[in-house]
């Protein structure tokens, strides 16, 4: 142990000397720094490009879509006494007032009044949306029927576009006339948030699609989360390692990579044709998306469970916890943040999915918001897809506005999930 080593050559034991200070050495060092600078520049470039794309996306969406939340209203003087609405204010206190008012020929009355106020060109300046708005105002204040009154009504999308400075000549002329008389104002478009799909772009809204999305995601979560987590726990903690579990693991990994339209075909074949579940319903849409989301949750869950330190398992086993107790008292709570992250990714993907839902009939024109998971409905991405296909120019800004709503909805859901995850993480 105290032997002196004699086999080391003298040169190696000599001091390093000038080896680190000559020109060749400094050149080597300089080359390393050059490489590092290049790498940093490439990284900055990559980040710059992605920021640029994001900025472009936000700008184009904002500039086109924000207009969708605002619409123009025109003032219309109506002398109800002179119209042939045959509505009696006294009967409008009953609960069925809304139906009665809507049954009346409000559209004709509006067209006549518009023609009288702003000339022949103005006959078509209001559309469906205006008559709904007028009906609401009459129901709220039936006494207005007794004389003449000034009402603010949303203009048709043709005039709306012209007012936002891009319309055709006739509409532009009418807009300038209205502006001259102070009969045009812009207002927040509440219709867009409360209405559902319609043929008239000034009457459309995202409420129906939002509700459909909500129900669909609810079904997806209710199915995919428990099934996915339990599958992950079983495979990771209980299943024996053999060829069967290997095969299952490979299948699940492959399932996560299957194109989503294939899941749509599966949903069509199994849920609609074999099980005869209702077409276009959030129930079937949610089940189809759950099939798609489950593998993502299983994979994320298994990875999260794998990262739970074995010392925790040992500790719990050491005091005599059963396998089940170890899993549910210790492993699962510690893995939950990771599982939730995987779930967020999976659900966010499901939230933006269109293709599988087209296959199971959620692309139908549905003008009423769904009342439950078995009603016909559509979802936001499909609604966006449908509107982007419309020929009417009024749908352009509605499409962009719907995209903004979808992104906000996603942001909300992800924010909620991240909040939940952080809450669980704090328990460490």
């Amino acid at each position: 142990m105290t032997d002196v080593r004699t086999d080391i050559p003298a040169s190696a034991t000599a001091k390093p000397g000038a080896r680190w200070r000559d020109a060749a050495a400094s050149r080597r060092v300089r080359r390393r720094y050059v490489v590092e600078r290049w790498f940093r520049a490439a990284g900055l470039l990559a980040i710059g490009i992605s920021v640029l794309f994001l900025a472009f996306l936000l700008y184009s969406m904002g500039s086109k879509g924000l207009g969708g939340f605002v619409h123009y209203e025109a003032r219309l003087p109506i002398e109800f006494a002179k119209t042939d609405l045959f509505l009696d204010p006294a009967t409008l206190r009953a609960p069925d007032a809304n139906q009665k008012v809507r049954a009346a020929d409000l559209e004709g009355a509006i067209a006549t009044a518009a023609k009288a106020a702003y000339g022949a060109e103005a006959e078509q300046m209001f559309s469906e949306a205006a008559s709904y708005s007028l009906a609401d105002q009459i129901v709220r204040n039936p006494d207005m029927l007794n004389g003449s009154s000034q009402v603010w009504l949303p203009v048709s999308s043709r005039i709306d576009i012209a007012a936002k400075q891009e319309g055709d000549a006739a509409s532009e002329k009418l807009v300038s006339l209205l502006k001259q008389r102070g009969a045009l104002r812009s207002a927040f478009n509440t219709t867009f948030l409360t209405a559902s799909d319609a043929t008239d772009p000034s009457a459309v809204g995202v409420w129906g699609a939002l509700k459909g999305t909500f129900f669909t995601i609810l079904v997806t979560m209710a199915l995919a989360f428990p099934v996915g987590v339990l599958a992950a726990v079983y495979l990771e903690e209980f299943a024996p390692r053999n060829r069967w579990t290997d095969a299952i693991e490979v299948s699940i990994n492959n399932l996560a990579a299957v194109p989503s339209i294939i899941f749509g075909l599966l949903g069509l074949a199994v849920f609609l044709n074999v099980m005869n579940l209702p077409r276009s319903a959030p129930l079937v849409g949610g089940m189809t998306l759950a099939l798609m989301t489950m593998p993502v949750i299983v994979i994320a869950g298994r990875n999260a469970i794998k990262t739970v330190p074995p010392s925790i398992r040992d500790a719990a086993l050491g005091v005599g916890a059963s396998k089940m107790q170890v899993t549910f008292h210790h492993v699962l709570p510690l893995a939950l943040p990771g599982i939730l992250t995987g779930t967020i990714i999976g659900v966010a993907r499901a939230l933006g999915e269109t293709a599988p839902l087209l296959m199971i009939g959620m692309r139908a024109f549905i003008a009423a918001p769904p009342g439950g998971i078995a009603d016909s409905a559509t979802v936001l991405p499909v609604q966006i897809f449908l509107w982007s296909d419309e020929v009417d120019r009024g749908f352009v800004e509605k499409t962009s506005a719907a995209i903004i709503v979808l992104l906000l909805f996603m942001l909300l859901m992800n924010g909620l999930a991240i909040y939940l995850r952080n809450r669980f993480e704090r328990r460490w």
């Binding site: 040992d314 500790a315 719990a316 086993l317 050491g318 005091v319 005599g320 916890a321 059963s322 460490w428």
Partner: protein, 325 residues
């Protein structure tokens, strides 16, 4: 030779204990201490004195015989007979026979990879969690074969507690850490009982005074030494009969180590303790019996004082003098 036997704190000597429970326990067990010391004084290493010269045959001595001769007449708490462990095809442990006695600390020493931890994990069947591990031989706890499939491992691990190398408190509150064992075993039915068990266990582990005002704080926020004592409190909260310690001080500084060692002395009066350690001074300080493992074999077993002052096997001598390991 027997005068050198290291018994720093015997249950009869007044000890600086933080735990009244331990003291009471020690008093209760008072009469039995005579039995404990008796064989050591009566039969001072008799059969081995002949072998203890420098000329020792290098074969493995049948250790079970040695154990019986060292502690003839003493009832063993655990008894391993010809235990071998295989990891797949690889044999990690080869025919180990050993006994663990109540009120004695048994230290397992040996170089890394010699199988001492593997053997320790056999004693409460923690090796079950390794799919490729296979154990042969017979291990008894109070005469009951714990390797048989009929043995309920959950019950076994409640009776044979374990403290691990790295302090591994649950990421829960200090209270929950200690209360977890009694709760899952349904030992205590009321919150009051549970509070009492937690307090008693923390006192026995010498941690009560440090944590009594912050029982709801996370167990992972404690220092390394406190965490390890918390793990010991967690193990004794279910009131086991045997405590296994797998290098409990290897991740701790000398002061924390000294506290744990003191704690081991105090716990000895109540539990049979088996401790794996790399630190030979520690083995000498805390244990009364020492087993030296090398390459999966039990090379030598005997009283700690003998192993360290007068080993019979050249391999033991080499290891203890620092020739390898």
């Amino acid at each position: 030779m027997n005068m050198k036997e290291k018994m720093p704190i015997t249950p009869t000597t007044p000890m600086p204990t933080t735990s009244t429970a331990v003291a009471a326990e020690a008093n209760r067990r008072g009469p039995s201490t005579a039995d404990e010391n008796a064989p050591e004084f009566r039969a001072p290493d008799g059969p081995h004195e002949l072998d203890s010269g420098p000329m020792i045959p290098p074969q493995v001595v049948p250790t079970d015989d040695v154990a019986e001769s060292v502690d003839a007449g003493r009832a063993s708490k655990m008894r391993a007979n010809d235990v071998s462990v295989f990891y797949g095809e690889k044999r990690a442990l080869n025919g180990v026979s050993i006994r663990i006695y109540e009120e004695l600390v048994t230290a397992f020493i040996g170089p890394s990879g010699c199988g001492k931890s593997t053997f320790l994990r056999c004693l409460n069947r923690m090796n079950d969690t390794i799919p490729s591990a296979r154990v042969t031989g017979r291990i008894e706890l109070d005469g009951e074969d714990i390797t048989s499939p009929d043995m309920d491992v959950v019950q076994l691990r409640a009776r044979v507690g374990m403290v691990f190398q790295k302090p591994n408190p649950f990421p829960k509150s200090i209270y929950e850490n200690v209360a977890y064992g009694p709760r899952i075993h349904g030992i205590s039915n009321s919150k009051l009982d549970l509070d009492e068990i937690v307090e008693k266990s923390l006192k026995r582990a010498g941690l009560w005074d440090e944590v009594k005002d912050r029982l709801s704080e996370s167990g992972t926020a404690l220092s390394g030494g406190q965490q390890q004592r918390l793990c010991i409190a967690r193990a004794i909260a279910v009131d086991p009969e045997v405590i296994l310690m797998d290098e409990p001080c290897s991740a701790l500084d000398p002061i924390a180590t000294a506290k744990i060692e003191e704690l081991i002395h105090e716990l000895r009066g109540r539990y049979a303790i088996a401790i794996v350690t790399h630190n030979m001074q520690q083995a000498a300080r805390v244990s009364q019996r020492t087993a030296f493992f090398h390459l999966g074999e039990l090379v030598e077993y005997g009283k700690t004082s003998e192993i360290f002052t007068n080993p019979r096997q050249p391999r033991t001598t080499d290891y203890i003098t620092g020739r390898y390991g």
